[in-house]
């Protein structure tokens, strides 16, 4: 089942067209990786899917998932260094998108936050302040918040950019597990070609003025992994 469908979208950044006439769809449970050089519009594409920027032309359609029900992890941690907030407070704030009129968190919201805190092994640091955590822990907290905001889709914009190799590997394994065991659709922007090939079902390769979409095995059999 298609859950997101991009039809002939054109995106621009600072009035310059960077993505032209891109069409693809995202199928429920898929793991999609967006790769490409800097300035080819990867982050802009992510923002367009989230509804933060409007495509200049073309349409993005959603079915079975609302635009505000997409969990999101940003490129660099958008949270100020010394922001006083506990892990629990941050994770719980992910539940806000489904509360239209209710001003406070329900018991169900708290149970959900606790579930993901437990699932991502954050119990011990639940009450700690966010700024005191390591890079890997911070990304797991933001992942838990994103999971509270979604049932189905996670969008990740270079989530491992500030992580060391061990934490990166760990993070990709968690994401892969969420994708396979919990049927959460993953759309991730990455510079990390090896991990993209290892986990992704499909790869969208953006380059200046064009794009290619393929499966990882097509790339490996062609042997042009280095030309990506």
């Amino acid at each position: 089942m298609q859950i997101i469908k991009c039809e002939n979208i054109t995106l621009s950044y600072n009035k310059e067209k960077i993505v032209k006439d891109l069409s693809f769809d995202v199928i429920d449970g898929e793991y999609i990786c967006i790769i490409g050089e800097n300035g080819t519009g990867k982050s802009t594409l992510v923002k367009a899917i989230l509804g933060l920027v409007n495509p200049e032309s073309g349409k993005i359609k959603y079915s079975g998932v609302k635009q505000n029900e997409i969990g999101y992890i940003s490129q660099t941690s958008a949270i100020a260094d010394n922001f006083p907030a506990s892990v629990y407070e941050i994770v719980l704030s992910g539940c806000l998108n489904r509360k239209v009129f209710m001003p406070f968190y329900s018991k169900k919201d708290k149970e959900k936050a606790d579930y993901y805190i437990n699932h991502l092994e954050l119990d011990e640091i639940k009450k700690k302040t966010f700024s005191s955590l390591s890079g890997g822990q911070k990304q797991r907290v933001l992942l838990a918040r994103a999971l509270c905001a979604t049932k189905k889709v996670l969008l990740l914009d270079e989530p491992t950019a500030s992580l060391d190799p061990v934490a990166t590997k760990e993070f990709y394994e968690i994401i892969y597990d969420l994708n396979r065991q919990h049927n959460i659709t993953i759309i991730t922007v990455s510079h990390d070609i090896d991990n993209s090939l290892k986990y992704a079902d499909r790869i969208i390769n953006l380059s200046k003025d064009s794009f290619k979409i393929y499966r990882p095995d097509e790339l490996i059999t062609k042997g042009d992994k280095n030309n990506v």
């Binding site: 989230l50 940003s74 006083p84 907030a85 506990s86 407070e89 806000l96 918040r145």
Partner: protein, 270 residues
């Protein structure tokens, strides 16, 4: 000492000041957390100067000061918010232009309409005698409205303060909450201004929060300690000012400063 404090509370103007002061401190402490974290502290400062200009206009027209000042300052708050969110204009210098401009215009209006008198001093540095019973009632009602709105939107304001992009992506109307925050700040600034004065009111927004950020590391904790610090310094400031015949606003700010120093020392130790 105890007798002196008891005697102090037999004056109705002091009771009025304490009531309005507690309400305003509560509002400013709560609003201060997101304002300081969003680096909007300068907006509070800018608004107090605009408020001075508006009070001068109200005084020249001989009308109720709050009714004129509140709408003007709320509008100014939206303007300042736009300026600081617009990266093309240099936010801090634009705020300085607006705030010093209103201050200057206010001084001219006051001196032309009434001649240089104690009004200017009172508006700049605050006066505990300034409030009538009607003012107190209006101030209490408005502060209750500010508190209610803030509590209803507490979690959303937290989310917007923490991470605007995530909030926007998950469907929270970030601009609406920024505007609510600006409007609430404007009302609080105007309410507190006559007691604290235009020069000192922004201290009430900033000090309790930067102090409590030194001793607590969760959002709830920072909010809680900011309220305690804010109300404690207000009441002790009024007592000090009565006992030693010092200006009230300045006494409250000085106590806040002392608390800030103690809090940063506690942080260093840990």
């Amino acid at each position: 000492m105890f007798d002196l404090i008891l005697e102090m509370f037999s004056y109705s103007f002091i009771i009025r000041a304490v009531i309005v002061g507690i309400m305003v401190s509560l509002c400013s402490a709560l609003l201060g957390v997101p304002l300081v974290l969003k680096r909007y502290s300068m907006i509070g400062d800018g608004l107090s100067h605009v408020g001075f200009g508006a009070l001068a206009v109200a005084s020249a027209m001989n009308t109720a000061p709050l009714k004129i000042a509140i709408p003007i300052v709320v509008l100014a708050a939206f303007l300042l918010l736009r300026i600081s969110n617009n990266s093309k204009i240099k936010g801090d210098s634009a705020i300085a232009v607006i705030s010093t401009g209103s201050l200057a215009i206010g001084v001219i209006i006051l001196s032309v309409s009434k001649g240089m008198n104690t009004d200017i001093y009172n508006y700049l540095f605050g006066s505990i005698l300034a409030m009538s019973t009607e003012d107190v009632l209006l101030s209490v009602i408005l502060s209750l409205v500010v508190l209610l709105i803030f509590i209803l939107f507490y979690h959303r304001i937290f989310s917007v303060t923490l991470d605007e992009t995530f909030a926007k992506a998950t469907g929270i109307k970030v601009n609406v909450y920024n505007m609510i925050l600006a409007a609430l700040t404007a009302v609080t600034v105007v309410l507190g201004m006559r007691m604290m004065g235009a020069m000192l009111i922004s201290a009430l927004i900033i000090f309790p929060d930067v102090s409590s950020m030194n001793i607590s590391y969760t959002y709830k904790g920072v909010t809680f300690f900011a309220i305690i610090i804010s109300i404690f310094s207000l009441i002790s400031g009024i007592c000090v000012s009565y006992i030693f015949s010092l200006p009230t606003g300045a006494s409250i700010v000085t106590i806040n400063l002392l608390i800030y120093i103690v809090c940063s020392m506690i942080k260093r130790r840990n």
